[in-house]
Amino acid sequence: MNASTINTILLLVVLINMFIMGSNRIITAIKAVALQGIILALLAFFSEEFTTKGTILFIIIVSIKGFIIPLLLIHATKFANINQEMKPLIGYMPTMFIDALSVFLSFFISQKLPLLPSHQETIIVPVFFATLMSGMILIIARQKAITQVIGYLMMENGVYILSSMLTGSVTFLAEIGVLLDVLAGVFIMGIMLNHISTTFEKGDVGKLTSLRE
């Protein structure tokens, strides 16, 4: 796969980041993160040579990131009866603007870093930084517990860009181990979401203020 195709697909990943920043329904955001995970897995699969291990890994990643985690989260929102609205702390437009700034910043940072020639012509590194920062922005800018989980998954997608496309030194077992840890983490978070929304009103992290220093 040549550099321009990779760049086009990576731009799609950045656009999904922006889309999540602007979306006001939780289920839409969960689906968008899942789509982002699938796109990245496809990209990694087609940019490398065809191997059996690679195929197995691809299938596992797509099934966990694309289906199991989003279904788990959607089920959690329905089960806990969480309102679909995002409840922004910072409005949708300002968040998108901050995200655009973060994209600009990540291109700026990547210019300064020493990179391999083959990585200089693609935008892998800036897209990694942009996805990481988008995840953090989402965690800060939204009030509900579930949006924090979505932000965490975005950061995880960013890590996947780094581990699969940039370094490629992570072994098969380690990749699966990392993935299973993420799955376990999201699973526990889903259970906690349920407890939060039954104890507090509508899974609102803003209400988690009784413990202070």
């Binding site: 780094l162 370094t167 380690a174 181990g177 376990a184 906690m192 407890h195 939060i196 104890t199």
Partner: protein, 471 residues
């Protein structure tokens, strides 16, 4: 090979018993049996060369094993006699998962598997914080789960950057095994190594709970039962320090020790000062202990940062801190059970109401602030010596912090121990199962102070050599 089969057999048997057992007691005994097995296994691993583990891993392994043994012994009495006992199926299961993955993390020999095991071990602690199932525990659990997950993702990114720093200079071996990194990272790209240090330091410092990343600590320790607080303040922090010390080793080998040391000293000092200020007028005795834990993390960071004899002090202090925090958290748990409250508005005269736990609580406090002849006095003294040799201002700030801690922590703890107890009747009585573990922990620390066994001294010295290599 036989050992591996035996371990898998014990683990699966214990998990099986926990899942099908009907009584809380049986499950508590199962966890204790696993702890005994783990203790035996650690002794065997320490004395033989079956696994190629270095002195740092050995030190943390034996610390964790002693602590876990004491805690699970206390667990037998706790789960049968405590008046608020919930069903303990999930927490005993988590305790087993925790010790399995913590041990794997200690013996891991490459960065990514270390990360995976550390993450699993810390996820296994989540049900422990949530044990009481009330509003406060939900909040504390969410904070812990979320901050630690985010922090540890950053640590993973740092690890991948190390791999990229090898790729970019065209190194033949880009795997993340310790032996490869320690041997070759002088030739790796220094810019990427520095970035990876920043990311990994933030990630692991979140788990140890150094100052700006500590916010989960006070909440988690104050809402969970004392027995689990003991495991987290003693065990989880120790294994996180192992991860941080691996990072220090890597950066030393790359010739970047000045950067690492100044960062450690800075975070150490601000953690100590922040904790000492937060302790003033704190009525919740468990929160006081959480701040004390942050302070001691700062002390260890300072000791590792100033170098020289400070490294010896810091390593010895990891051991002392684990056992003392274990002891005092269990004693506080007993006091809290005797009063049904955890603030000094209600807790007064603990020495009169429950003489043995109350006394242990006070003695453990004296050991924590570094009273001779406890081992913690010698470790603190070594760190002070190291910091005086390093720079005068740092040692003055450090002593100021220690003094403030003595005043702030002492006020609350003396208030809780002295005086005439209110007549609150909760039906709690001190039994030998409830106070034997803290007593044993204190005795071990005292013994380390009076005459350190040669074998332990050699272990500490070897660990110091590992950290000082390539300096």
């Amino acid at each position: 090979m036989i050992l591996l089969v035996l371990c898998i057999f014990v683990i699966s048997l214990s998990i099986g018993i926990i899942l099908i057992a009907k009584s809380n007691n049986l499950r508590a005994y199962t966890v204790f049996a696993v702890a005994l097995f783990h203790f035996g296994l650690s002794i065997y691993l320490l004395s033989s060369h079956v696994l190629d583990i270095d002195a740092l891993s050995k030190l943390i392994l034996i610390t964790l094993s002693i602590l876990y043994l004491g805690i699970t012994f206390h667990g037998i009495a706790y789960f049968s006699r405590c008046q608020f006992t919930n069903n303990n199926k999930i927490v005993t299961f988590s305790l087993i998962i925790f010790i399995v993955f913590a041990t794997l993390m200690i013996i891991a020999n490459d960065l990514i598997s270390m990360w995976i095991f550390l993450e699993t071990a810390s996820l296994a602690c989540t049900p422990l914080i949530y044990y009481n199932e009330n509003k406060a525990s939900i909040e504390a659990t969410w904070k812990y789960l979320f901050l630690c997950s985010i922090g540890i993702v950053l640590a993973l990114i740092g690890m991948l950057f190390i791999s990229y720093s090898a790729i970019i200079v065209g190194a033949s071996d880009t795997s993340l095994s310790f032996s490869n990194i320690l041997l070759n990272d002088k030739t790796f790209n220094q810019t990427w190594l520095k970035i990876s240090f920043v990311f990994m330091f933030i990630g692991f410092a979140t788990k140890t709970g150094l100052f700006p990343l500590h916010s989960w600590k006070a909440d988690a320790y104050s809402v969970e039962p004392g027995i689990f607080g003991a495991l987290m303040a003693g065990g989880v922090t120790s294994i996180s320090w192992l991860a941080l010390m691996r990072l220090i080793q890597i950066m030393n080998a790359a010739g970047e020790s000045t950067l690492v040391h100044s960062v450690l000293i800075f975070f150490g000092i601000i953690s100590i000062l922040f904790a000492s200020i937060s302790m003033f007028n704190q009525l919740d005795i468990k929160k006081i202990l959480a701040y004390s834990s942050i302070e001691h993390m700062g002390i260890i960071a300072l000791g590792l940062g100033v170098g020289g004899i400070g490294i010896f002090g810091a390593l010895f202090h990891i051991f002392n801190n684990a056992l003392l925090k274990g002891g005092i958290f269990i004693a506080v748990g007993n006091i809290r059970r005797a009063y049904g409250q955890k603030t000094t508005e209600f807790i007064r005269g603990a020495i009169h109401k429950i003489p043995i736990s109350g006394t242990l609580f006070l003695v453990a406090f004296l050991a924590i602030i570094g009273t001779p002849p406890f081992g913690s006095f010698f470790s603190l003294f070594a760190i002070i010596q190291g910091s005086i040799a390093h720079s005068l201002i740092i040692s003055l700030l450090f002593l100021l912090g220690l003094m403030l801690v003595f005043m702030g922590m002492g006020k609350t703890i003396f208030n809780a121990s002295k005086g005439i107890p209110q007549t609150i009747e909760t039906g709690y009585k001190d039994t030998i199962g409830m106070y034997l573990s803290p007593l044993a922990f204190l005795c071990i620390v005292l013994m380390m102070g009076l005459s350190m066994p040669d074998i332990f001294k050699k272990l500490l010295m070897d660990a110091v050599l590992v950290l000082e290599a390539n300096l």
